[in-house]
């Protein structure tokens, strides 16, 4: 399977680019990053209909839809 280009934060679902020096979520500071995520939402503008309907979408960025452990 193709390696995913991002790691997801277990805490806030933010997607972090996969680089060796990145060990923390830049948004919430959590070190709990996982490769096990499915689906992606890229929020570009905050007046999207999804803001408010989906609780983890607050500011623009890339988010995983589902995160889980192995």
């Amino acid at each position: 399977m193709k390696r995913k280009p991002f790691l997801a934060c277990m805490n806030c679902r933010f997607l972090v680019p996969r680089r060796p020096e990145v060990t923390r979520c830049p948004r919430c500071g959590s070190t709990d990053l996982t490769e096990n995520w499915e689906g992606m939402i890229i929020l570009i503008k905050t007046d999207s209909e999804l803001v408010g309907k989906v609780e983890y979408l607050k500011e623009p960025g890339r988010y995983a839809v589902e995160v889980g452990r192995e």
Binding site: P5, M40, I41, I42, I44, S48, E49, L50, V54, R62
Partner: protein, 147 residues
């Protein structure tokens, strides 16, 4: 009527690449794209949120892995159904056979004895055990088994 969502067909397995390209292009050309959604476990399409069809057509034009231009718009409810799956605890009923997918009993089949929705836990009795054995596990540890 809120902002509609338009589905875009892509090459299977390239959904994330297409979504990233659409994002980049939307920012570069300042297009009115509000979000791009890659639904989990659905292969071969991404959803673009934008007020108009032609904006989406502009955003996806010429992208290598796009197989079909923006289709008919879909409603917010349908999009939410795709990205907000029902929790496992609501899909299983008391008496169902489930398989444990995590924890010490991984791979073992069990019958649901009770549900504890407030703690998101299930009380199970192991089917394959020689004597009655009840365990309480988080609902994420199980997968429903088709019978």
């Amino acid at each position: 009527m809120g902002v509609p969502f338009f589905p875009v067909r892509t090459v299977s397995g390239r959904e994330i690449d297409v979504a990233l390209l659409i994002e980049e292009r939307a920012r570069a050309k300042n297009l009115d794209v509000k979000s791009v959604i890659v639904p989990p476990r659905i292969k071969g399409f991404v959803i673009v949120e934008s007020p108009a069809h032609f904006v989406v057509a502009e955003a996806v034009r010429g992208i290598k892995y796009v197989r079909g231009g923006p289709g008919k718009k879909i409603s917010l409810e349908e999009v939410l159904k795709m990205i907000k799956p029902v929790p496992i605890i609501e899909t299983v009923e008391v008496g169902d056979i489930v398989e444990l997918v995590a924890g010490v009993f991984k791979g073992v089949k069990a019958r649901v004895e009770a549900k504890i929705p407030e703690k998101n836990e299930l009380v199970l009795s192991i089917v394959e055990a020689a004597y009655p054995l009840q365990i309480t596990v988080p609902a994420d540890y199980v997968r429903p088994v088709r019978r």
